[in-house]
């Protein structure tokens, strides 16, 4: 998962961003130009399906990374292409007749996928499911010169949006983060990406040990000056099982104090809003209308199919998860025709909880009536009304009829708020 941070994320799930750039990206059958900026993708798109494809391989393992990423000497490209196509065909067979709104190639490092494999998957997906006119097809990419050299081919394969793992604008920090690229190389890759793709986003990791508000301000301003219309800005968190976790345990470095992290978070919101890319999700910022449609599907709790190792999916309340280790996944596909490890029908409470804890990450909040209808519970069963009132009086929540939103002041406390309001 190029360009991603281990911020409590699931291995199979990508971060992404959207960049608004002029120019068309109409290349392949089924590949459609990116939607124009200007309006938040509307809720009417809800019926559309999102497809996630996980490519689990990386050149090396970053010290902060707890994604489902693996380093392998060689990959049997033909076998992987066939297996992904089979896994995809299985999803199409069990969920036919949907309109495909987005595809997302995450990882690992999907920019290492052979462009032909990418093309074959886009081609197959859009044959299984009719694509929306303005389908969004994102790929996560490493901003190295090697990968930048493939951008033209990837665009030709149908990718119309990339999310670049720039991570920092400081060579020393990039080294510390275990990244292979330097700042100059990363910016060159960004430039190449902006020339080839309709939409470009990049990731930065902040709230690093010792990072001052001044230093972050300068870095962020520089990031905003490149004119992408989407930015994913993640605070560094130390995840169990990563190299950083061991180093912290050994006392080699101390993570930034959470209060200082809170300051940086507020500073980030202010600076991005002033630059016209307000936060539409906790760590994601976009020019209005340039949000990642794929990721909005997750947060709005729409349907998504996930294929490849460790990928998760939701099909109308049925949760799927695929085998995580690449070798196990591929063996399962070869044996069963799909890589699914588990499939469960989520009970109404679980669906409601997921919808709330995903949806409240968004600045737009959630429509309780919609979640009630989707889960079959009543609005009163979704949230603890007394707790909502109490937190609303504290200014952490806002409730307007059935719309519930977390305020700016509350966003940074979301996990604690959820624990208070989500009915058990």
């Amino acid at each position: 998962m190029e360009g991603s941070l281990p911020l409590a994320t699931h291995p199979s799930d990508p971060a992404t961003g959207v960049s608004h750039a002029p120019g068309m990206a109409k290349e392949l059958p089924g590949a459609i130009p990116a939607p124009a900026a200007g309006s938040l993708p509307s809720l009417e798109r809800e019926g559309e399906l999102a497809l996630y494809v996980h490519w689990p391989f990386c050149v090396s393992k970053c010290p902060y990374c707890d994604f489902n990423s693996h380093v392998r000497d060689s990959v049997d490209q033909q076998a992987w292409r066939d297996a992904l196509l089979r896994d995809l065909a299985h999803e199409a067979a069990v969920l036919p007749g949907r309109r495909l709104g987005s595809i997302f190639f995450g990882g690992g490092t999907p920019s290492l996928m052979p462009p032909a494999t990418v093309a074959a998957l886009i081609d197959a997906a859009t044959r299984h499911w009719p694509a929306a006119d303005d389908i969004e097809i994102t790929l996560e990419a490493n901003p190295s010169s090697v990968e930048a050299a493939r951008f033209a081919d990837l665009a030709h394969a149908g990718i119309n949006r990339v999310s670049l793992g720039l991570q920092a604008l400081d060579d020393q920090v990039l080294g510390w983060l275990g990244r292979a690229h330097g700042v100059a190389e990363g910016l060159a890759a960004l430039d190449t990406a902006q020339n080839h793709f309709g939409r470009v986003s990049f990731d930065l990791i902040y709230a690093r040990p010792g990072q001052t508000p001044e230093a972050w301000d300068a870095e962020l301003r520089r990031a905003l000056s490149f004119g992408t219309e989407h930015l994913s800005l993640y605070q560094l968190t130390i995840e169990p099982g990563t190299q950083f976790a061991t180093r912290v345990a050994k006392g080699e470095f101390v993570p930034l104090d959470p209060d200082a992290g809170a300051e940086l978070f507020e500073q980030t919101r202010a600076a991005t809003a002033a630059a016209g890319l307000p936060a539409y999700e906790i760590s994601n910022h976009a020019r209005p209308g340039a949000e990642s449609r794929h990721n909005l599907t997750y947060w709005r709790y729409g349907n998504y199919a996930g294929i490849g190792p460790g990928a998760h999916g939701r099909r109308d309340g049925r949760a799927t998860v695929r085998r995580r280790k690449p070798e196990n996944w591929i063996a399962r596909v070869e044996a069963n025709g799909h890589g699914i490890e588990r499939e469960d029908d989520l009970p109404p409470e679980a669906r409601a909880q997921e919808a709330l804890l995903m949806g409240l990450r968004l600045a737009e909040g959630v429509d309780l009536a919609r979640i009630a209808a989707m889960s079959g519970l009543s609005v009163g069963q979704l949230v603890d009304a007394a707790a909502v009132d109490r937190l609303a009086r504290q200014g952490l929540l806002a409730r307007d009829g059935e719309r519930l939103t977390v305020t700016d002041a509350g966003m940074l406390l979301l996990d604690a708020i959820l624990a208070e309001i989500v009915a058990a």
Partner: protein, 620 residues
């Protein structure tokens, strides 16, 4: 004649001649090799085959192992054919090792004539050693120093000998050099026991007189009573009488541990072993009681009997109210084996239904609490420990003047009715190396101590202090250990009640009184104590979504205050599709965790905080 090999099936009605008995304990600092040596001695004398020698036979309770303390006395009877060609019976007694069980220790020691002092050849003399050695000396024991672990490259036996002489004041020329692990010096130790530890005395023809050393509940045998026969003989089928308890029982088993149980026909003077007498509850067997023949009783009981009474009380409440019955059953079960704690049902506005329990000390309290948690799988809230106060109440409209006992600060009556409060005092005897004397005196002074005596024995001071018990129950022992780096020893007994200028201090969290944290304190110490409590709670209560004032108050007057800042950040920065599952599980866990906390004025207080807040730390 000491039978060399008795079998459990064949009961031989022969007592062992006095001059063939040696009773001893092993004194050692933790990790110096007491258990390993005990195992070796058992193995060498044939008590267990190699295959049965699962390591460390003596300590059998988990908690004992982890804390490195022994709670129940254990004995092992060893048969040893000495170099002089004669057969001996050696009784090894393992004793409890903490002041909370000081009385039990003293009874165990009273059952022996000598001790092995085991010192690690590389570590030298350490704390626990001292405290226990002095106790052993007080019982007129013959002490045989054993320098263990001489196989270690870092062993310095000569230096350790010098330490034993200088620090403890025992001659160490004849110290046995040994390695319990490598099996070096084991025969020499056994020979030294025979040669140097005196044989017990006693008249086999006199009426039975035996000491009840300890007792415990065994699911197969019922209550097992460990005894030391002083005079006369005890045998199966005998009618015996517990002199203090004034009860009569029929002996149905007499036996010993090798360490496997072996039945004997009878035991004579100087012998240590167990009896069973169809007793169902440990509470019927008081440690220190004198056992005699019901029909032909001894003239006078053994001296030194003390009724063991709980001195520290606290409330135990189930975190989940539905566990109340389970808690009651578990307490009953634990009490089967430990008569020294008491409990009675109580209820609290905030905590619901639970039990007020009495313990011998804070360690005892913690052990019981831990066993309830671990062995009975209960989540508990423990309220502030308290001693028993005597309140002199003036008459009211409906009641006459009277004196009541207060076990629980939450039950404190209207202060206007209280004429006077009395609190229990103790006399403490403390041994401490000279260099720590200054800090020790300060500690005692800070705890309202009155110095009674100060004398020097070698490089070591012996100090006697009178102290209010409530200043000792919380953490005096821990503090003592820390300021003396563990070199102080501490022993105490209660000396009655005295008037004190005492007040009830309440703790309020977010404006709401937390009755489990209220306590009775001396007025002079209230402010410091209140400040300390507030500071501790500030660290112990996690940040919430709002800021939380924590206050200590006497009556309506706030004497200390701290504020817990509002939480600033608690968010998962990155969360995409598959995370929905993980996040939901996290949320469920979080909610589970909340159930383990208590809510006061919208504030969740973690259960550990209740006891932890009381530890006084370095100042005060």
């Amino acid at each position: 004649m000491a039978p060399a090999n008795r079998s459990a099936l064949c009961e031989i009605f022969v007592t062992v001649p006095l001059d063939r008995i040696r009773n001893f304990s092993i004194i050692a600092h933790i990790d110096h090799g007491k258990s390993t040596l005990a195992d070796r001695l058992i193995q060498r004398t044939g008590g267990l085959t190699d295959r049965e020698m699962s390591a460390q036979v003596l300590d059998n309770m988990d908690i004992e192992k982890e804390r490195g303390i022994t709670i129940k006395a254990q004995t092992v009877r060893l048969d040893y054919k000495a170099k002089d060609g004669k057969d001996y019976v050696l009784n090894l007694m393992d004793t409890p090792g903490h002041v909370d069980f000081a009385y039990e220790v003293s009874r165990s020691l009273a059952a022996c004539e000598g001790a092995l002092l085991v010192v690690d050849a590389a570590q030298g003399v350490e704390a626990q050693t001292l405290a226990n050695v002095y106790q052993s000396i007080e019982h007129d024991h013959e002490i045989v120093p054993v320098i263990n672990k001489i196989d270690l490259p870092a062993a310095e036996p000569d230096k350790v000998k010098a330490e034993i002489e200088d620090i403890i004041g025992l001659p160490a020329d004849d110290a046995v050099l040994a390695s319990a692990k490598a099996g070096i010096g084991i025969d020499e130790i056994l020979e030294a026991i025979v040669a140097r530890i005196p044989a017990p005395k006693g008249d086999p023809a006199a009426p039975l007189k035996a000491m009840l050393v300890d007792s415990w509940y065994d699911p197969y045998l019922g209550v097992v009573i460990l005894i030391r026969v002083v005079e006369g003989t005890i045998r199966k089928g005998q009618q015996i009488k517990f002199m203090q308890a004034d009860t009569v029982h029929l002996v149905d088993r007499v036996g010993c541990f090798r360490p496997k149980i072996e039945q004997l026909g009878e035991m004579g003077p100087g012998e240590i072993g167990f009896i069973t007498a169809q007793i169902k509850e440990v509470s019927q067997t008081a440690v220190g009681d004198t056992i005699t023949d019901a029909k032909k009783p001894t003239a006078a009981p053994l001296p030194g009997f003390k009724e063991v009474q709980p001195v520290v009380f606290c409330g135990l409440f189930p975190v989940d109210a539905a566990d109340f019955e389970k808690l009651r059953e578990s307490l009953y079960k634990l009490r089967l084996n430990d008569a020294s704690f008491s409990f009675e049902a109580e209820s609290s506005a905030a905590l619901g239904f639970g039990f007020r329990c009495g313990f011998l000390g804070l360690l005892h309290l913690e052990i019981i609490q831990e066993r309830l948690t671990r062995e009975y799988d209960l989540d508990l809230i423990t309220t502030a420990p308290s001693v028993v106060y005597r309140l002199h109440l003036s008459h009211s409209k409906t009641e006459d003047a009277k004196v009541i006992e207060l076990h629980n600060p939450a039950d404190m009556p209207d202060p206007n009715r209280i004429d006077m409060i009395e609190e229990p005092w103790i006399e403490a005897t403390i041994y401490v190396p000279d260099e720590y004397l200054g800090s020790l005196l300060k500690l005692c002074q800070d705890r309202r101590g009155i110095q009674k005596n100060l004398t020097y024995v070698g490089g070591r001071a012996q100090i006697t202090y009178e102290l209010p018990l409530n200043e000792v129950v919380f953490d005096f022992y821990d503090r003592l250990k820390s300021i003396s780096r563990g070199y102080a020893s501490f022993d105490y007994h209660q000396i009655g009640y005295r008037e004190g200028d005492l007040v009830k201090m309440s703790i309020m969290v977010n404006g709401e009184p937390v009755d489990a944290l209220s306590m009775i304190v001396h007025r002079g110490a209230a402010e410091a104590r209140g400040r300390h409590m507030c500071e501790r709670l500030k660290d112990l209560i996690p940040r919430h979504l709002f800021k939380i004032p924590v206050q200590a108050a006497i009556g309506g007057k706030v004497i200390a205050r701290e504020t817990i800042a509002a939480m600033r950040k608690d968010v998962t920065a990155k969360c995409y599709g598959g995370d929905a599952t993980r996040k939901r599980k996290l949320l469920e866990k979080q909610k589970e965790g909340k159930k383990r906390m208590r809510e006061y004025g919208n504030v969740n207080i973690p259960q550990e905080a209740f006891i932890a807040a009381l530890r006084m730390g370095d100042e005060s």
